[in-house]
Amino acid sequence: MKHSKMTLSAETMNLGFVKKVEQLSGSSVRRCFQCGKCSAGCPMRSFMEHPPNRIVRLLQLGQFERVLAGRSIWYCASCETCTTRCPNKVDLAAIMDALRKLSWDAQGPSKESLVQLANRLFIDNIRTYGRQYEMRLAAVFNLKSGKLLKDFMLGPSLFTKGKLKVFHKKNRNIGEIERIFSRIEELRRKGEAT
């Protein structure tokens, strides 16, 4: 797909998708003139198949499948370097958030599952406990990603250093937290939020 020929026409360019991204991110996509500064400073560039500037370029051409199919958006570290230095005030970090949201909602057209899994667990933790418990997060991640022994060597030392808590309790206001989650879901169901 990455190298296949692209036929451009009013039909093949999904400009509605681009509008959605612009709306979610609050940032213009067309402003970008491909100077490449975002990719030049991106710490994650070497891990991405589409460098950040190419993501924007694909958006300009309405090629959302190509964008979402890649791993690149999941390899963004949200370090905001691109947004900070963009000469055109394109908020690429926010565009990345928007793209991940759209990809997330579309239930994983991307092959990148590990980052998505970590995110999912992280958010689930918040819903369940109100706060983050790193031990639990790591353990469940390893369990679910099938990498049972990942960071196995780190565990004991972290434990002895008092960095991992085995026991954790739920927030007192866990009900209010659950309400936030469910009300957001409700908004989405009603189509009042994206």
């Binding site: 609050g26 710490p43 994650m44 070497s46 390899y75 963004c76 570290a77 949200s78 370090c79 905001e80 370097t81 947004t83 900070t84 230095r85 970090a93 990345m96 958030d97 928007a98 991940r100 949201k101 997330w104 590990l114 980052v115 998505q116 899994l117 970590a118 995110n119 992280f122 958010i123 933790n125 918040i126 109100g130 706060r131 983050q132 418990y133 790193e134 997060l137 790591a138 991640f141 990603s145 990942k150 780190l154 030392s157 972290l158 250093k161 008092g162 960095k163 991992l164 808590k165 927030n171 206001n173 209010e176 309400r179 936030i180 009300r183 957001i184 908004l187 009042e192 939020a193 994206t194």
Partner: protein, 296 residues
């Protein structure tokens, strides 16, 4: 000098990490503020800010969680002091985004089932120390000058970025960490990777990323002639300290570079008992370095 504001009082949002992997950050922060006679009162029932994973896939959730925290913070007097760079960033971004976007404001208000109360000033510890408390007073409070200690101040991504949000310092050439630690007599080194990304939360999902990026940071600090690195973010600390041994193994280079939370060093200088600074929790032990410099 400035008679006003002699007594400072803050509400405190530690964030999840400071209750777990970054407990030494929490301990030393409390110790330091006590020594400086600055009031610090933890917000009851605070919840996770959502951090990167939440805004990565669900901005509305992220905004709502932070808005909830801001609401909760009103239970306690004083501006909201935040230690974790990521929490700080999320709280500030939330204030920012909701201020400029009415639609999102309505959505969040609905999610919280309460009118929004977002106005409490959110301040990072650095700002409190450098501006509210003042560098002069900080210098005056030093009991054990850190002279001779060469510190590489590491800002990471979120303390200063994006440019118009944290408003902590110049987003490309900040100096607030250097100024604060400089008040203790420590020597700060000039180095290249002060603001490069450490790999952040890929530590869980893609540790290889962290090994590469944090490795470059350690190498840069070494080149800069630093004895140690000072950070203000638990995630950065985790990547640079906890994963340092792995980085050394992967790169075949030895660093042995202690990574301090800023409050650990400040509290040390302010004469807080070393037992309360959590040096024992650090994976790369600072003991020999501090002894060598006559600080232990």
């Amino acid at each position: 000098m400035t008679p006003a504001k002699n007594i400072l009082n803050y509400s405190y949002y530690p964030g999840c990490s400071l209750h777990a992997s970054a407990k030494e950050y929490d301990e030393s922060t409390r110790g330091l503020f006590k020594a400086l006679k600055i009031g610090l009162h933890e917000v009851p029932d605070w919840l996770c800010c959502g951090a990167t994973p939440a805004h990565n896939v669900d901005e509305l959730l992220s905004l709502s969680l932070c808005a909830k925290n801001l609401e909760l913070s009103n239970q306690v007097d004083g501006d909201l002091a935040v230690a974790c760079a990521a929490c700080f960033s999320r709280l500030k971004v939330t204030q920012h985004r909701l201020a400029e976007n009415e639609e999102k404001r309505h959505q969040v208000a609905y999610a919280l089932d309460a009118p929004l109360a977002l106005d409490k000033p959110v301040k990072h510890l650095l700002e409190i120390l450098a501006t509210d408390f003042g560098l002069d007073r900080l210098a005056a409070a030093v009991q054990k000058p850190l002279s001779g200690l060469k510190v590489a101040c590491y800002y990471g991504c979120l303390l200063t970025r994006p440019p118009d949000v944290p408003e902590l310092d110049d987003c490309e050439d900040p100096s607030i960490m250097e100024r604060v630690i400089g008040a203790t007599g420590a020597e700060t080194v000039s180095w290249s990777h002060r603001m490069e990304c450490c790999g952040a939360n890929f530590t869980l999902s893609r540790p290889g990323v962290v090994l590469k990026l944090s490795g470059e940071i350690l190498a840069s600090a070494k080149r800069g002639g630093a004895d140690c690195i000072m950070v203000a973010c638990p995630l950065c600390h985790g990547n640079l300290d906890i994963r340092q041994k792995e980085i050394e193994e992967a790169s075949g280079r030895h660093y042995g570079m202690p990574v301090f939370y800023m409050t650990q060093l400040l509290a040390l200088a302010a004469g807080v008992s070393t037992s309360k600074l959590g040096f024992g929790s650090m994976m790369v032990s600072p003991v020999s370095l501090l002894k060598e410099k006559g600080l232990l």
